[in-house]
Every structure is written in C-alpha cells, then in structure tokens.
Symmetry: C2
Subunit: 459 residues, 2 copies
C-alpha cells in the first residue's frame, strides 16, 4: 500500500487528502496528515468576525474536525505534530509530537507540503510586548477575545491596513471600541490604486475609525504594568489598550528550503500546474506555494483560502490517480469595512506596468440601482487595460451595498481575455433594485473602450 503524507491540516492539505481519499480507498492509499495545531480545516478568514462577536464560537470556524476526517474518511490526522525535517532522499518526514516532545519519523511514497503562511512580525522594538497580537490562527483569535474579556479595553490600535487590518478595524468598531488603524503607506489596502484606497480611508474615517497613514511603526511602548500602552509611528503616537498586527503573511517554506526544494523569490514553493515540485514525489499546495498569475505570467504568493482549496483539490486529484491542472490565479478578493465593500482582481495599473504592459486605467462612479430606485449607493469601478488592444488586465471596486461581488463578473471577463469593448456589449442583468440599465461594470467598460479607441492614456 502506498502512503501519502501531508504536512499541514488546513484548507490545502485537507482538500488534497479528502480528494485523494475520494479517488482511492483506504485499502489502496494510506493518508497521514501532520498538523502542528489542535484542529483541522479552520477558517482563518473568519477570525475577525469571531473577534467582533458576530460569530460567537470559535468551534463554528472549524469546517471539519480531525475526528471527522479520521472516522469518515480514514485519514490519519495527527494534530499537535510539527514536522521538523523532510528527507527527500530517504523519503521520510520527521515530526515532533508537541504533547510529549518526542519525534516520529515516517516514510512516504508521496509527500504534500501544505504548511500555509505565517503572520509577518517585523523586528520592531516592543513588538513582543504583552497585548500585541497577530491574527492568523484560532489561538490568536482566542487570545484577543480573552484580552477583551479580561482587560478594560477601550482603545485598540490595528497596525497594517491590509485585508486583515481593515477587517479587524471593523471588528473592534462593532465591539464598541475606539479604533486606530495605522499604516506606513499613504492609503489603505495597497493592492488598490491610491484613488480607490483614498475612498476606503475616508469611508473608514466617516465611520469613526481613526485612520493614521504615512505612519510607519517604530516601536511599541509598555505601560506601568508591562502591557503594551502605546504605538509609536513616524506620524505620531497612539495610546491604546490592545494592539493587533495585520502586516501580511509569508509562505511557510523553510522546511522546503531546508529539504532542497526550489522556492521563488517571494518565498513560495515552486510547483508545476499539477502542484508537483521539481523534487520527485514531493507536491505543494496553498499559501506556502507561489502561484502563477494568469495576467502577468509571474509567480505570486497570494494567501487566500479560495486558492488554497483549489490547489489542494488539484493536488489531491493527481495524487489520487486522476488528472487535474491548476489554471493560475487572478488574485480576486473582496472585503468589507462596515458599509464599504471592496473588490479587486487581476493587476493594478502599477502592477501592470511593472509586468511590462503599456496600460491605461479609468475610474467610473455609478449607482448600484436605477436612478429613481431608493437606497442605492455609489460605487467606483476602476478598470486597467492594455493600451491599443483594450484587453482587460485588472479591476477594482469600492462602494456600498452589492458593490464588491461585481468583481466576479470582471474576474470572469479578465480570465477570458476580454477587451473593454467586448465587456461593454456583454448581456448583463438589470432590474431597478439591482442596477442601472447599464450596470456600473458596463459603464466603466464603455468609458474604457472609448479611451482605447481614442488612444487616450491614463484618466
């Protein structure tokens, strides 16, 4: 019998294990999963909503617990086991059982590395103080909830205005706290064009969040009790009772590097389209890998559950004897801060230019409903296209109700190499409560198509 060993029991690892098991029974393939944490398949992206108490139980974030995998799918999940070494010659992995600090070495026929990503914690003075939290794992979420319950929290500083940062800012507003959101950049959500980032910043300010930009953090200062009490930035100081870091994540590829498995400049493990590394019998999937961006053709490191699940399924299909190909990513993402929705896909203008495109961009603001239908909200749709051809390269949306999910239409258009002109003719839906006759997406496409036709540049 063959043995598949999986390192990491979250989205990519468990998708792969489940898929392989569906294709091959327990009499043909043994599957062992080493997971360093206490559970499997949890939704890290749900943690802000747990902190907000919108989701009241951390258990609710667990899509499927280890017992279910063991009982229903004969997958030997070993929690609290941290893999410390891979020997690709001997085809073994060594894991430490964290419960009793003993090591176990296990041979594999096939190995899947699905070690995920870790929060970036830069070496800033005081960053290790009590009261400074990251937001990546269920224990992180539990620690923040405990701090809220146990301390008299009134003011929170969120450092880093990426997805997690803005979502945590929302969470703390919903908790009723005074929230400071701090970022080194001049606008939040750096993947967004600054013009759209500014819209997000002003909507957050209007919602009462203190948005402190151009403010690289230089230190965290403790109060008399040794607990963090102040964030020091290049743009002033913020007194606070709690600090949450949202400074992005990096692929957990150190194990792979040590085993001689090639890793991209961004730290992601390099795989082919079937999720194979260049080392025989070693596969990788999820946040620990570098994905191929369909528009730029470059290897990116996008840590999103959507991608991790799909890559895991792809790897699992191939490991189970089927054939699957992971077709690459657009980096499509949505998020929300209170009443403001944000979506993005493909390349920003900056990214497009860096990738070698002669690119143009336009922002079009339109209402989410027919002009006479009450309750609509403005949304700004930004399109990035290749000059000359008009091929769509990227899109961003910032707006109110029902704005963000329109990014899926744009992602589908970009996926299919549509031009702005083609998009402007697309037969999209309309009814007064849902959109103007020309959906904002079509309005933006039409403006872009005109610019392309006239040979105009960035507007």
């Amino acid at each position: 019998m063959q043995r598949l060993v999986v390192i990491g029991g979250d989205a990519a690892g468990m998708s792969a294990a489940s898929t392989a098991r569906r294709l091959l029974g327990a009499d043909t393939l043994e599957i062992v999963v080493f997971e360093q944490g206490a559970t499997t398949s949890y939704a890290a992206c749900g943690i802000p909503y747990w902190v907000a108490d919108v989701v009241t139980s951390g258990d609710a974030l667990i899509a499927r617990a280890p017992d279910v995998f063991r009982d229903k799918q004969q997958i030997d999940v070993r929690i609290n086991h941290r893999v410390v070494a891979i020997d690709t010659d001997a085809k073994t992995v060594t894991a430490t059982d964290l419960a009793n600090a003993t090591d176990v070495t296990l041979a594999y026929d096939e190995l899947l590395i699905a070690t995920g990503a870790s929060s970036i914690v830069p070496p800033i003075d005081g960053i290790d103080l009590p009261g400074v939290y990251t937001v990546k794992t269920l224990p992180d979420g539990a620690a923040i909830r405990s701090a809220i319950d146990e301390r008299d929290v009134k003011t929170v500083a969120v450092v880093g205005a990426g997805y997690i940062g803005v979502e945590m800012a929302e969470a703390f507003v919903l908790r009723g706290f005074d929230v400071h959101l701090i970022d080194a950049a001049p606008t939040p959500l750096v993947r967004l064009d600054p013009s759209l980032g500014a819209l997000v910043a002003s909507s957050m300010s209007e919602a009462g969040i203190h948005v402190l930009l151009d403010a690289p953090v230089t230190g965290f200062v403790a109060g008399d009790d040794g607990h963090v009490a102040k964030v020091v930035t290049g743009n002033g100081e913020v007194a606070c009772d709690l600090v949450v870091l949202g400074l992005g994540v990096k692929p957990n590829s150190q194990l792979a590097v040590e085993a001689g498995i090639p890793v991209a400049d961004n730290g992601g493990i390099i795989t082919d389209k079937m999720q194979r590394t260049s080392v025989a019998s070693v596969w990788a999937a999820g946040d620990c890998t570098a994905q191929m961006h369909r528009v730029s053709g470059e290897r990116v490191a996008i840590a999103l559950g959507t991608v991790a699940n799909k890559q895991g399924r792809c790897a699992g299909t191939n490991l189970g004897g089927g054939t699957a190909v992971f077709p690459g990513v657009l980096g499509t993402a949505v998020t929300r801060v209170l009443d403001t929705e944000i979506g993005m896909t493909g390349l920003s203008l900056e990214q497009a230019k860096a990738a070698g495109f002669t690119a143009v961009a336009v922002n079009v603001t339109a209402n989410s409903r027919a002009h006479y239908y009450p309750g609509g909200d403005d949304m700004t749709v930004r399109l990035v296209a290749e000059a000359g051809t008009g091929r769509l390269l990227g899109a961003e949306i910032v707006g109110g109700d029902a704005a963000a999910k329109r990014i899926d239409t744009l992602a589908t258009a970009i996926w299919n190499d549509m031009t702005a002109l083609e998009l402007s003719d697309l037969d999209l839906s309309y009814a007064p409560p849902f959109s103007p006759v020309y959906d904002p997406v079509l309005q933006a496409a039409r403006v872009m198509a005109g610019m392309i036709e006239r040979g105009e540049g960035d507007a």
Copy 2:
C-alpha cells in the same frame, strides 16, 4: 444635409438618436423623432415600483425628457405623433399628430424603427372591463395609481406570472393589498425550470401572495357598477377589486410588415448585426426587433431595456458614421419578489434541447455566506451544459439576498463558451460576509463538471 427619422422615442430610439448626434453635429445630420406618447426615454421597468409607491413620482421614471433632447442635442422630438405609414420607395414616413388629428409626411435619408413592444391582451371575455389594466406605459402606471387612490381597493388579481406579473404582485403586497397571482402554467416565470419556478411559487405563498397556478383565465366578470369584480379561471374564481395583466409583450412590427420589411416568426423585425433591415436605409432596434441568441443561434424576441439600449447605441453609431456590431443576447435577466431574488441567462434545459443540444442540467443549493457567518440565505443555482463537452448553455438562480446578481458571472462565462470544468476553477472572490470559500456558482460548476466527466444525464 441628411435627415435621420426615428420612430419611437424610448430606450432604443433615443439611444440611437443621442449616439448619432454625438458623432455628427446638427449641421451635418438632422434628427427627427416621432413618439406617440407624451414623453421620451421612460423606464417601463420602473412602473411596478411606482405602483408600489417605492418610487413616488412618475416623472422620476423619465430618464431624459423631450426638451432636454431638443435643447441639449438638437434632436427634433415630436411627441404625441403616431407614425401610421412608411413608404420605403418614396423614403417617407407619415405620422398623425394626435393632438389635432392631422397627418404629416416627412422624407428620410435614413430611418430607424424603434417602435418597441406592446402588452399582449388576448381576446378573453370581459378583458376590456373597467378595472383591468396593462403595465407597459407611464399612463398605464398612472391609471393603476389613480384606481388605487380613488377606489376602495382591498384585493388585486394579477394575471400572468412573468417578470411584470411577479413584480406587480410584490408592488401590491407592499401596498398592503390581498394579492392573487394567476397563471395558466404550473409554475411562475416560465423561462425558469419548473424546479426553480416552484421555489419562487412557494416563497410567494409564504409571503402571503395567493398563487393560483394551472389556471388559464377564461373570463372577467363585472360587478353591479360595471367594474371588474371577478376573474374566472380553469382552476376556480377570484373575487377582486382590480386586475392587472402581465401576459407578456409582442414586438410592434405591424408598420414594418405593412412597409414590406421582413419580420421573423416571433414578430420581431429582422436586422443584421449592424441593426440594418434588408430594406435600404431602414434600420431597426429594440423590443420591435428579433435578436440573435448567442447560444442557440436563433432569432428571439427579448424585450429588455438592456438590449434595447445596446441595440440603439449600435444603430446610432453606424448611423453616425462609425462602425458597431451588436453581438447578440443571452437573455440575461433578474427580478425580485419581496425577499426572493431570481436570475437567468442563456438557455433553459428545455430551450437547449429544442435548439438541438444534447444537454444536461443540475440544481445545487448553497448558502450565500460562509457557514458560520450569520444572515446568509440559501440559493439554488441551476446549470445547463452540453453533454460531452460540458460547455455551459444556461443558468438560473433563485435565492435570497445577493443571489440574483451572481447571474452576471454566469452570463460572462456562457458568453465566453466556458465549460463547467473551466468555470469550477475560476478565481472568484470570497470573504465570509459575501460567500462560502467556494461560491455557490463554483459549487454548481463543480457538480456539473463531475457529471460531465462521468457522462451522467439530467440530475
């Protein structure tokens, strides 16, 4: 100077006139529009919301009034003028000025027929009784509002459960009336598969609408005052204070027929992709035409503002000396009945089979949000695909909040001839308040892809 004459001053006609004017100044092209009604460019699709009093003024439904076209664009809009004849040899049109019953004959260099569609009013006994209304024009809406204001309306019967029927049912519920929705078919919204139509029917019933199906109307009966008081159907009688008909529309192509311009079996004027009829210098656009369906390749008659606007813009571009092509339709549409959203695009299974495809279909029900995030609603996504290849042919969605607009993603996929497998890999957006990790669209695609791979039939 050339003269463009446009018959019909609504979406298609005024889009064409405006577009032609943008391309050619008033010193090059004279534009005359004959409109039989009292205004231009009104949103017929807004009438249900005006009747509901969600929109409080009929004027709000007028996107642009005749004066604006005259003053800002030098378009000679002649309202209350009904064109009664086209002479394609002499290149003239004759219109009756309804204000004083005089005729005017005007020569054209180019003629655009944009006469729209009319409500179907079948020859049913009593259908002309006072209190029986259609819903197509602003005067229709005004008449219904007046009836509500002037009579003691408690119970309303809506005959026909198409878009307009279900939207009018919603409108009368919002007005606080007792609403009966009557249709000859076994499920509402016949474009929907009966399995999804049944979901709509039960949601309407739960919302308190009396849904009477399999009930062909055989007569309308007056009360003592001569006003309609009862609807007689093949499935029982309904006492009511007011009747609204939503029995569909038919292209207004009689003028074209009389002028010898070819019309399709469905009554729509036949045009090429530039919106030219086969008669020299005669163009047509909007609800009066037959459109090419991109999936079936057949000529359909889809009366939707989205299509009318795009066809008008296309015709106007070509009339203005530019070059544009109308790429055809998918019949994408959305509507809503209270809390239930409905979307559809492409072909139903029945339509696909009628068009000669060997087609399979599947319904997948999934939540609109991450499983742990509160407030989500189930939605059912139905996909129709070609057996063997898995090419997507059509899609339908019925669900709660944020369900319907997902049809745009599916329309974009179908437009691009994607297969179910390709769709299942698409990089769509995810965040807990917006979708599960696998959006319902992707879940449905994945199930369909599996069926195609296994060679399974209708599920």
